[in-house]
Amino acid sequence: MASRLLFSSLRQVQKLQKACIHGRSRIGNREVVGFGYNGQYSYQDRVDFPMPAIRFKESTPDIVALREKEKGDWRKLTLEEKKALYRASFCLTFSEINAPTGEWKSIVGLACVFMSIGIWIVILEKLFVYKELPASFSEESKKAQLKRMIDLRVNPIEGIGSKYDYEKGEWKK
């Protein structure tokens, strides 16, 4: 008795799991019309995979009536009915899928905002955080440094010493 109860409850769980795996419990009474991307009952507008597994809208009475009419001659359908049929099956048309969203504007705008914040941080640090540059950065100090490097024949192969003509006492032409 107990085992039978256990088995029957397990079977319920299994059924529920199956329904969840394929998403049957989430699609309402939408018609399943195909395999879809991976066997799950999902809807997505994709240009490279245009026919999803389920219809976009649930089967309301007026759509069901329209589907009955669809079984007849399509030339007798009005333009509004045809568009209603399309929108019952699909959410977006291709031109709507490919329509520009204008999202690039906010991306460019935000990028500019963050870059200007960075530039302001550098400016404010220059003004309020860093001390004056040391005396060795003055023009005379830098010239003296260069003179000393030449005298010491620094980097005679490829560097500064190789560009100086020591016999004539001037830079090589």
Partner: protein
């Protein structure tokens, strides 16, 4: 079928090779690799036409073939499009026919000005016979409705 044939061939080759290995050092080349498709374009077209022309085809199979065609590097020939539209008529799915025409237009890529009018001109009799409107006639060549972002709802 192929597998058994390959296995049999392999065992034959192996026995021959083992016999010959004493005399020669060369071994018969046997490469186990897949073959490329040798289907010609005409065969491809007639295969898909026949697929769509099957009388008992259902919506699942139509969608499967259309999704496959949408994933291939080609624009379907007008005769395939005709057969597909007639298949949509048989399963009474108008939206599917219009969606397929949109797929064709999308498949034309950046040569839509050349290819799409040609296909429309070729399938025009079928469109008129079945009463299918092109996406342009339904006003779907330009965005009609905007979808609200799900994160803004």
């Amino acid at each position: 079928m192929l597998r058994t044939a390959v296995c049999r061939f392999h065992s034959v080759v192996r026995s021959v090779a083992i016999q010959n290995v004493a005399r020669t050092t060369s071994v018969l080349p046997s490469r186990l690799m897949s073959q490329h498709s040798t289907e010609t374009d005409d065969e491809f077209d007639s295969r898909y036409e026949a697929y769509f022309n099957r009388q008992d085809i259902d919506g699942w199979e139509i969608r499967k073939a259309m999704n496959d065609l949408a994933g291939m590097d080609l624009v379907p020939e007008p005769k395939i499009v005709n057969a597909a539209l007639r298949a949509c008529r048989r399963v009474s799915d108008f939206a599917l026919a219009v969606r397929f025409l949109e797929t064709i237009k999308s498949k034309c890529g950046n040569r839509v000005q050349e290819i799409y009018p040609y296909i429309l001109q070729e399938i025009r009799p079928t469109l008129d016979e079945l009463g299918i409107n092109t996406p342009e006639e339904l006003g779907y060549d330009k965005p009609e409705l905007a979808l609200k972002n799900v994160y803004d709802m």
